[in-house]
């Protein structure tokens, strides 16, 4: 069972809650409408140490843990999923693998800026023809023996934080050889601005409008040999481990969304009058709100339970998948029901629950679809499912 939050975690939650209320919430609607990536606010989050929470002080980090990072993501998601995913992806998908798998030289070179939020990293795993089946990566990297450089060719799809003005790198997975007849995958750090790394124009998305997402084309993109992350050929294992951590953080984001729905729906059900009484006087409405409270409580228990296991160094793969699956599906249900409670106002873009509704759907898709979570859970249960 997840432990009660300690003093540090409570203090961080109070700080992020205030920051979210004062610096994010008032602008979130405009960022959503104008598809603005608010780089100044991201830098402020950097100054507050949010990007460094789980990393050691040696790299400028805060020496915290995954639980504490989850608290920050949860609080931000209550007001703006785009800001929350910017933090989650930068820490979970870019800085974390460099810290976990990178050589000391790679950590020294890249982490200080990522940890301080002066720079953002992207994680380029998905390809147009390899998503859930990420092992089917087609991007290739070969060594040019004359220059001892990797030459990378391929295409990546839907890569978060890959094209902001402060993006410093993208970690891309690529086939670098074969072992026992199977393609061998490596993760390679590609610095932003490397010739041959083409950042495609932003997508037209249904939500997460203030989050930065691009397709990437790698065309004879050359990086030095020592840019392979950690060991050559370990890419597949690396991204599986990276995604395990990331799932808990995404589930924390979903938890924040559910809590937002609960708070908004409770208020509206009390305030909105129809047939001469608050709509919450109808069981049909009140029961929906009650269900939101149940979803929030269940998601909270699953998220912080999984995070506590991870922080204690215990196995957590199944628990992470369970938390991600439940919290993200519940977030989609919660946003749909909250939108229903808001009636016509719920269909208006400027309504918070409407934005949360549009933004929530991707939670069942990114960092492993709900189906993939069920596969992971099924395998953990010992089923022969493939």
């Amino acid at each position: 069972m997840a432990a009660e939050l300690n003093e540090t975690q409570l203090a961080l939650r109070a700080m992020v809650r205030e920051f979210a209320r004062d610096r994010v919430a008032p602008h979130a609607e405009a960022w959503d409408r104008d598809h603005t990536f608010p780089v100044d606010v991201v830098r402020e989050m950097g100054d507050l140490g949010l990007f460094g929470i789980p990393f050691p002080e040696a790299y400028g980090g805060g020496d915290g843990d995954l639980t504490t990072l989850c608290i920050a993501i949860e609080e931000l998601a209550k007001v703006d999923q785009s800001i929350a995913i910017t933090l989650e992806a930068a820490v979970g998908l870019a800085a974390n693998p460099i810290f976990q798998f990178g050589s000391e030289a790679q950590r020294q070179r890249w982490l200080p800026d990522l940890v301080a939020g002066r720079a953002l990293g992207g994680f380029g795993l998905t390809e147009p023809d390899a998503g859930s089946d990420a092992g089917g990566t087609r991007t290739k990297a070969v060594i040019d023996p004359d220059t001892d450089e990797w030459v990378i060719d391929g295409t990546k799809a839907f890569i978060t934080n890959s094209g902001t003005e402060i993006t410093s790198l993208v970690i891309v997975t690529a086939v670098t050889g074969t072992a026992a007849g199977r393609p061998e995958i490596s993760s390679i750090i590609v610095p932003a601005g490397t010739p041959g790394l083409i950042v495609e124009p932003p997508y037209r998305k249904m939500g997460w409008h203030a989050s930065d997402t691009h397709g990437l084309t790698l065309s004879e993109c050359r990086v030095p040999r020592d840019h392979v992350l950690g060991e050559e050929g370990r890419g597949f294992a690396q991204f599986l481990a990276t995604l395990d951590d990331g799932r808990i953080a995404i589930a924390a984001l979903a938890l924040g969304v559910i809590e937002c729905c609960l708070e908004e729906a409770t208020r509206y059900a009390n305030d909105r009058i129809a047939f001469g009484r608050p709509i919450g006087a109808n069981q049909g409405v009140a029961f929906k709100v009650a269900d939101l409270a149940v979803m929030a409580a269940a998601a909270r228990a699953l998220v912080y339970d999984a995070a506590a296991l991870r922080d204690a160094g215990k196995p957590f793969k199944k628990e992470a998948a369970i938390a991600k699956l439940y919290a993200c599906e519940a977030a989609v249900t919660a946003t749909r029901e909250a939108t229903q409670i808001f009636g016509g106002a719920g269909f208006m873009d400027e309504t918070l629950v409407a934005r949360q509704y549009r933004d929530a759907k991707i939670l069942e898709i990114g960092e492993g679809t709900s189906e993939v979570q069920r596969l992971v859970i099924g395998r953990a249960l010992g089923l022969p499912v493939t």
């Binding site: 003093e7 203090a11 961080l12 700080m15 205030e18 100054d47 507050l48 140490g49 949010l50 504490t68």
Partner: protein, 258 residues
């Protein structure tokens, strides 16, 4: 430049508060937090120490149950250390006793050039503590500061008035009360929060700061009765017949708001 900031730790205003029917004072058995009014003083002190190129900001607080949560917030913002006076014998202390306790604690801080407080707290808001502290310490005091600058051993204060502000000067050391909202208090960073855990908090008893007759016994005041505030009366509806704006202006002028 060494600065002392008095910071009160109060029940979270976001949680519904309650009065203890026996003592007729606010219940303080929940977790206390930094009074937002004092966040401005802390911010101003940090800025002044920065501008002076160094020096320490020391916090002083009196609170029940050895409460430090509010102090940790201010330490996380950047204060160096804190003195907390917490003593069961102080329960029931009135504003004068509180001031004696704070003055006694401030005396223990060596080389304080400036003592900052808020103009009034968010929960008790008698607005009397700052001047009482100054009097007990025998120091000059300035109230309602909207900005403070220190030049050598002179403190220059813009003192907020109804019409604008007065320029006031006074020699250090002195007590200055800071108006709410005049600076933007920084958020405590995560590193600040982690660092605050190991910053020293000196916990003292009433006797340590020379207060022996505190609490109910020492109070020069008695709370005789507490009553519900009268329910808000219905507002005045101004029909706009073309002169609505003038009527509203007249109404506000009457209240002396504008």
């Amino acid at each position: 430049m060494n600065i002392v900031v008095c910071v009160k730790q109060i029940p979270d205003p976001a949680e519904p508060g309650a009065l203890d029917p026996n003592t007729k004072t606010l219940k303080r058995d929940t977790k206390l937090i930094l009074d937002e009014s004092d966040a401005y003083g802390v911010e101003m002190a940090l800025q002044l120490a920065d501008a002076a190129g160094g020096g320490e900001v020391t916090l002083v607080s009196m609170a029940p149950n050895n409460e430090t949560a509010g102090l940790r917030t201010a330490l996380a913002m950047g204060a160096a250390k804190a003195i907390l006076v917490s003593d069961p014998s102080l329960q029931g202390s009135d504003a004068l006793t509180t001031s004696k306790v704070l003055a006694g604690a401030i005396k223990r801080v060596e080389g304080a050039d400036l003592i900052l407080t808020a103009t009034e707290s968010s929960d008790g808001y008698t607005g009397t503590v700052p001047e009482q502290v100054a009097e007990l310490l025998g120091l000059p005091s300035v109230t309602f500061a909207k900005s403070i600058a220190v030049e050598g051993s002179t403190v220059k204060v813009e003192r907020q008035t109804e019409a604008g502000y007065d320029d006031v000067e006074c020699p250090t050391p002195c007590v200055v009360s800071v108006t709410a909202g005049v600076v933007e208090p920084r958020y405590p960073s995560f590193k600040g929060i982690m660092a605050a855990k190991s910053k020293p908090v000196d916990e003292l008893s009433a006797a340590d700061v020379g207060v022996t007759a505190g609490g109910w016994a020492g109070a020069g005041q008695e709370i005789v009765a507490v009553e519900q505030a009268p329910a808000r009366e219905a507002g005045e509806v101004v029909e706009d017949d073309g002169t609505g704006a003038e009527k509203i202006v007249a109404f506000l002028e009457n209240l002396r708001v504008i």
